[in-house]
Amino acid sequence: MTERHTDLSPTFGTGPAVDTSAEPAATAALAPTPPLGSTPAQTVGPYLHIGLLWPDGPDVVPDGTPGAIWIRGQIFDGAGEAVPDALVETWQADPDGRFDHPDDPRGARPPSVPGFRGFGRSATDPDGRYEIRTLRPGALPGPDGETEAPHLNLSIFARGLLHRLVTRLYFPDEEAANAADPVLGSIDPARRATLVARPAPDGFRFDIHLQGPDETVFFAV
């Protein structure tokens, strides 16, 4: 019951108890210890709204930002019913294709657009609708010299989703870039369209089908 495992696996009910004090911070680039098991995911449940909503959640860019677009859509379940208790989160590069993040090997760079957060968060309403105000991201270089078409990464959380779903949104007017995109190119051509948004008067529309004949392509990351 309380026997310590040499591989640092947690003992019953203790959670991972790890002493990292012996490891000098300066050499912490690679930990020589065996990997710790990740904490499992669990559903957000039906009451995510009390914990995860921010007044400015949908604002990847502030109101009044020149060139801002709205990305709106509905989420549907396998019966074609709207999902009224989901949360959509978006993450993307800025319009120059840069990230203000230390793990971007080109260097962390503050965004050229004031207030650009890169991150958006929107719960669905009773009709299953979400919305995000953002800017179109730039294209991205890949590690093997390829170029990724402009895209947003999306996480979807909901009651009945024991783990988040991950998908990508591409833009319909980027035909050449989309045709060369390594991720889109890896998807069954018959299903690629589920990852491409549709034009809308003030931006784009991107519906998400969790299940069924129009099922959106979801990814393991």
Binding site: T43, D77, N153
Partner: protein, 269 residues
């Protein structure tokens, strides 16, 4: 978004960031070198379709997941900081005129990555029902009382050692209609970002010895019994405060990184 605690990568050489252990940087060949996050064992996270949890039946995708390689969008993520926090967000017992009813508890622990390194300055969000098991949410109307002094929402940032701490009240068990006489074990919802889109985690913390585990499909959807135990907090007498609050420790582990592959046997560590 704040990067004050972060040193930008040198444009010419791989660098090791003291705060994050990041070794991202272009090699001399000009290729981007990105960190790689290890994939979890298949039984660590729940399957998307778990029929015992009825809501999964119409919401779990039927098609297999496609593999998304880890590129720039996947190895970066929002670094959300102090701007997201109010003064009392870490203390769910002091957000109203009076004190909430119930057993006052301290929930603390560390956020680590799979290499055992702390994840510093990272946002932790929690939400929970009150001591009677009722959520302050329009859709929750089971006949248990609301508490005018309890919202059930908390936020904090981990410190430089990855440590976080909340004060709250012990949540009650929550009834639902998933199966006959269904009750959720007492739990607190946790949401973490880590440093990368790849590390994003939403989970639930449970309490040791809960008699309701046996019939709970959400808890039991985690197939690996050792992984399941990682969802259970530990009673921690060392942080229990006399005549004030009981202490519970709950560490969270986000996906760790693989060694950065340097070309030509380069080793800048």
């Amino acid at each position: 978004m704040t990067t004050e605690h972060i040193r930008s990568a040198d444009p010419d050489l791989p660098t090791v960031d003291a705060a994050t252990g990041s070794t991202a940087g272009p090699t001399r060949a000009g290729r981007l070198v990105l960190p790689r996050y290890r994939h979890d064992d298949p039984d660590t996270h729940p399957p998307l379709l778990f029929p015992d949890y009825g809501s999964t039946n119409l919401r779990a995708p039927k098609q297999p997941l496609a593999l998304l390689p880890q590129r720039l969008t996947e190895v970066t993520g929002p670094l959300l900081g102090e701007g997201r926090l109010g003064d009392l967000d870490h203390d769910l017992t002091r957000q109203h005129a009076g004190e909430p009813l119930g057993q006052r508890i301290i929930v603390h622990g560390r956020v680590l990555d799979g290499n055992g390194r702390p994840v510093p300055n990272t946002l932790v969000e929690i939400w929970q029902p009150n001591a009677a098991g009722r959520y302050r949410h329009a859709v929750d109307n089971w006949p248990a009382p609301l508490d005018p002094n309890f919202t059930g929402v908390g936020r904090t940032l981990t410190d430089a050692d990855g440590h976080y701490r909340f004060v709250t009240v012990q949540p009650g068990a929550y009834p639902w209609r998933n199966h006959p006489n269904a009750w959720r074990p007492a739990h607190i919802h946790f949401s973490l970002f880590g440093q990368a889109f790849t590390q994003r985690l939403v989970t639930q913390m449970y309490f040791p010895g809960d008699p309701l585990f046996f019939q709970d499909p959400v808890f039991n959807s985690v197939r690996d019994p050792l992984a399941r135990e990682r969802l259970i907090s530990r009673y921690d007498h060392s942080v229990t405060e006399p005549e004030w609050a009981l202490g519970f420790e709950f560490d969270l582990v986000l996906r760790g990184r693989e060694a950065t592959p340097f070309e030509d046997g380069e080793d800048d560590d």
